[in-house]
């Protein structure tokens, strides 16, 4: 490891050309580097805490530190704080050097850095407070979303501005990956976070049900693609050749890798919604594109690994290369498994289980984590202009983290497959072998403890990493040397370069075409290119998503489905605030083992008033789509008070604060009004929502007293939450509505009972039009 290049550096030897002098801004890279390390340790620590909470439920500290509120904090911290700052570190370092220019504006760089850290701090405060939009990886509420959009645009201007003032004609492939990521993330973020505020930190998604789910997983999958994959691939194409001290194995392959990834990734999102109420054509489209992604992903991985051809002996000696090799191997494993999990029949087993969690972590801990460690270990001696503090600690970190990853993913793969198989097991009489859901969770607890050990080892490695970097920083010189680079500016008039020395490009049109003169012309228009790319991304996305919005046959309406009563809506907001969706799905798939366990499968038309949708992606607790009316109000009250008193093996945290907190009746009107603005037919409820809520709350409180409970719950939050849960799945059951529901709007006549749980093949109510994707 050596310091920076000699000072002053040589410029290009071109006597006739006027050379410009400039220097690279490494101070901003150092800032992002420290932010990466800090948030990495914090995010991983929160991960270990929630891992413990799953193995040992008493470690939930309500209200602020429960699994439901901390899980989004963990995901946001590791994705947007740790990986995000790592991306900015790598991008700011490599972009300047690949373009032979300083960043466009130091002020914008600084605004970008501090703005992003402000967002992270805001997230760390609001998420434990329960201020959430609930959609995965898009939980942050609307004021923070606006800040994210502003900071991202600052980053984009700074990046594209640097492209414009570059002194290198060709844009290296890493820069293409960066640009695609910047543009796509902006589009994803804005479209998925379109909400109508109902208060300073409350809002409702403008989309509902199927459309919201589609939008969310179009976003969610592409957050993985364009936040955790393409920027890291761009950095891989810069830092891997740097560390291996040789060019990438095949530059041609890297170009194909780029184009195929950006063409395909944007379509893959629907594979998160197999067998749900999403139309089947969309889910099949998502599956096919996911399978096609196998090819470019593995092409890229092999390209990265083969960059080490002739240099494998260095891997033994250089911890940076060790981390990089393991990162690329992890990328290969995760991108092999991803397409496999997107195949519907595999997904039927894996969905809602820990298999997904194992898949995510095998990718994130190795590809994103190990790559970030490698990159920072490579950068530290260069940025701090001294040798690494300890190479031995780097090796120790590598082995601790590797063992941690192995323990984590082995235990959680086992947990996922175990639970998936238990859910679908039938005994010889054709009944569910494990009808009690909690049996399938209790079986996982030993594996959850192994995960705690694995995660702790990984965290310990990260702490060693932080220590090693800080110690290296402490050895820095009193003042950093800033090399002055000299290079000529790109001329305004472009002369096509000869393909072979001495052979000029023919002046004919055909000659210009086969020599790709037009391509060189395109390369000179980064802004035009960015705008056109933006248009292409938006159009491609809309072709996939708009049909579910605007073609009626895709979401058949159900006459008996009505809006939530004002009290149920307030209860739903508590459900969202507590992050219940992190453990409970509300989406019964049309698979026999699901309909046997939960009842009639979910229809697209059932969630048309769900702003946002709450289908969920994971079942640590049972599905709740058909929960309404299954248990008494009193059971729910006792269950919230102490779940383990009702169900000894339950992993659910106790929610005593819901029982003592008062319902905010005053805010209910505003919530109903916003829903009405979004097109939910509230009719009479607009204007008298709090009164209706009080009436329904009194009815539930009376019922609690009659069934042997205590008095005085009529104004408590728990009553609203019970009202919401008792409503779930009732709409398509027909018959009299829940006795507690006292809506002020008209209801259609009773519909046939759809939930003949006893019958082996559930009947589809005749009022429901054939659904686009469901199958019995």
């Amino acid at each position: 490891m050596t310091g920076p290049e000699s000072v002053p550096a040589r410029g290009v030897a071109a006597a006739a050309t006027r050379l410009e002098s400039f220097s690279y801004d490494d101070a901003i890279v150092r800032k992002f580097l420290f932010a990466t390390i800090l948030w990495g340790v914090v995010g991983m620590l929160v991960g270990v805490i929630i891992a413990i909470q799953m193995a040992y439920p008493a470690s939930n500290v309500a209200p602020y530190l429960t699994f439901g509120r901390l899980r989004p904090l963990h995901t946001n911290a590791v994705i947007f704080a740790f990986a995000g700052n790592a991306i900015f570190t790598g991008v700011y370092y490599s972009t300047q050097r690949l373009l032979k220019t300083r960043m466009y504006s130091d002020v914008l760089s600084s605004l970008h850095f501090w703005g992003w850290q402000l967002i992270i701090v805001a997230a760390a405060i609001t998420l434990p407070l329960g201020l959430t939009q609930t959609k995965e990886y898009a939980e942050l509420e609307w004021p923070i979303d606006i800040l994210i959009a502003v900071v991202w645009v600052i980053f984009a201007i700074n990046f594209v501005g640097s492209l414009i003032k570059r002194r290198e004609r060709h844009m290296y492939v890493a820069l293409w990956f960066y640009l695609a990521s910047i543009i796509t993330v902006a589009v994803l973020h804005i479209f998925n976070n379109l909400v109508i505020p109902a208060g300073p930190f409350t809002s409702y998604s403008i989309y509902a049900g199927v459309q919201d789910a589609f939008m969310q997983w179009w976003y969610g999958h592409n957050a993985v693609a364009f936040f955790l994959t393409t920027p890291f691939l761009g950095m891989m194409y810069y830092f891997m050749p740097k560390a291996a001290e040789g060019p990438v194995f095949s530059y041609k392959l890297s170009i194909l890798h780029f184009w195929t990834l950006v063409f395909m990734y944007i379509w893959a999102g629907p594979h998160h919604l197999h067998y749900t109420a999403l139309p089947e054509w969309a889910s099949t489209l998502g599956m096919l594109f996911s399978i096609m992604l196998w090819a470019p992903s593995w092409g890229g991985m092999i390209n990265g690994l083969l960059t080490l051809r002739g240099a494998w002996h260095k891997v033994v000696d250089d911890p940076v290369l060790k981390f990089m090799v393991l990162a690329l191997t992890g990328y290969g494993m995760a991108t092999f498994e991803g397409p496999m999990l997107s195949i519907k029949s595999v997904n039927a087993l894996s969905h809602y289980t820990d298999w997904t969690i194992a898949h995510v972590h095998s990718g994130a801990l190795t590809w994103n984590g190990f790559f970030t460690f490698a990159m920072i270990y490579w950068l530290a001696p260069r940025l701090f202009q001294t040798d690494m503090y300890s190479k031995k600690l780097m090796n120790t970190h590598f082995w601790i983290a590797t063992v941690g990853v192995v323990l984590y993913i082995l235990s959680i793969y086992s947990a996922g497959v175990t639970q998936g198989l238990m859910w679908r097991a039938f005994d010889e009489t054709g009944r569910l072998q494990y009808p009690d859901f909690v049996e399938t969770v209790a079986r996982l607890v030993p594996m959850y403890w192994v995960r705690v050990v694995g995660g702790t080892l990984y965290l310990a490695g990260a702490v060693l990493f932080a220590y090693n970097i800080v110690k290296t920083w402490a050895k820095r010189p009193a003042a950093y040397t800033v090399p002055v680079i000299q290079a000529p500016a790109l001329s305004k008039t472009f002369v096509p370069e000869p393909l072979r020395p001495g052979v000029d490009v023919p002046a004919t049109a055909w000659g210009r075409f086969v020599n790709m003169t037009f391509h060189r012309a395109w390369e000179r228009m980064p802004v035009t290119f960015s705008v056109l790319t933006l248009v292409a991304v938006v159009v491609a996305s809309l072709i996939e998503i708009i049909p579910t919005f605007l073609i009626k046959s895709n979401v058949p309406t159900i006459a008996s489905v009505h809006p939530y009563t004002p009290l149920e809506l307030a209860g739903r907001d508590i459900y969202i605030r507590e992050g219940c969706v992190n453990c409970h799905s509300q989406m019964v798939r049309p698979l026999r083992f699901e309909t046997e366990r939960y009842g009639e499968y979910s229809k697209p038309g059932e969630s048309v008033y769900d702003h946002p949708f709450l289908w969920g992606s994971r079942r640590i607790g049972p599905d709740l789509a058909r929960e309404g009316g299954l248990k008494s109000n009193l059971w729910h009250l006792r269950h919230f008070e102490n779940p383990r008193e009702v169900n000894a093996k339950s992993l659910m945290p106790a929610y005593t604060h819901i029982i003592t907190n008062d319902i905010d009746f005053a805010s209910i009107q505003k919530r109903v009004d916003v829903m009405a603005m979004l097109g939910v037919p509230y009719g009479d409820a607009v204007g008298k929502a709090p009164d209706m809520a009080r009436a329904q709350a009194n009815a539930i409180a009376d019922d609690l007293v009659q069934t042997g409970g205590a008095k005085g719950f009529a104004t408590k939050e728990v009553v609203a939450l019970i009202a919401y849960i008792q409503r779930l799945g009732k709409d398509i059951q027909g018959g009299p509505q829940s006795a507690t529901a006292k809506g002020g709007y008209s209801r259609s006549p009773a519909t046939p009972n759809a939930r003949q749980i006893a019958s082996p093949i559930p009947a589809v109510p005749s009022t429901i039009a054939p659904s686009g994707g469901g199958r019995p």
Binding site: R169, K242, E245, P488, L499
Partner: protein, 64 residues
């Protein structure tokens, strides 16, 4: 006539085929460009770009 009716009435089935052909054409063009031997030297130079932080790699002549 609402947008919903227009979208439902438009036969969007063709869009998938049209985009398939467009994407395939773009892909073939990219492959041709990437694997054409006449660009080998250009790519070999581009591949070395990360290795030198001080000197622009793109060759210049004339006013460049």
């Amino acid at each position: 006539m609402s947008l919903t009716q227009i979208m439902s009435g438009a036969n969007l089935d063709h869009y998938a085929q049209v985009s398939l052909v467009l994407f395939l054409f773009a892909f073939v063009l990219i492959c041709w460009r990437v694997f054409s031997p006449r660009f080998k030297a250009t790519y070999d130079r581009a591949a070395r770009m990360p290795l030198d932080d001080d000197n622009p790699q793109t060759p210049r002549r004339g006013g460049e």
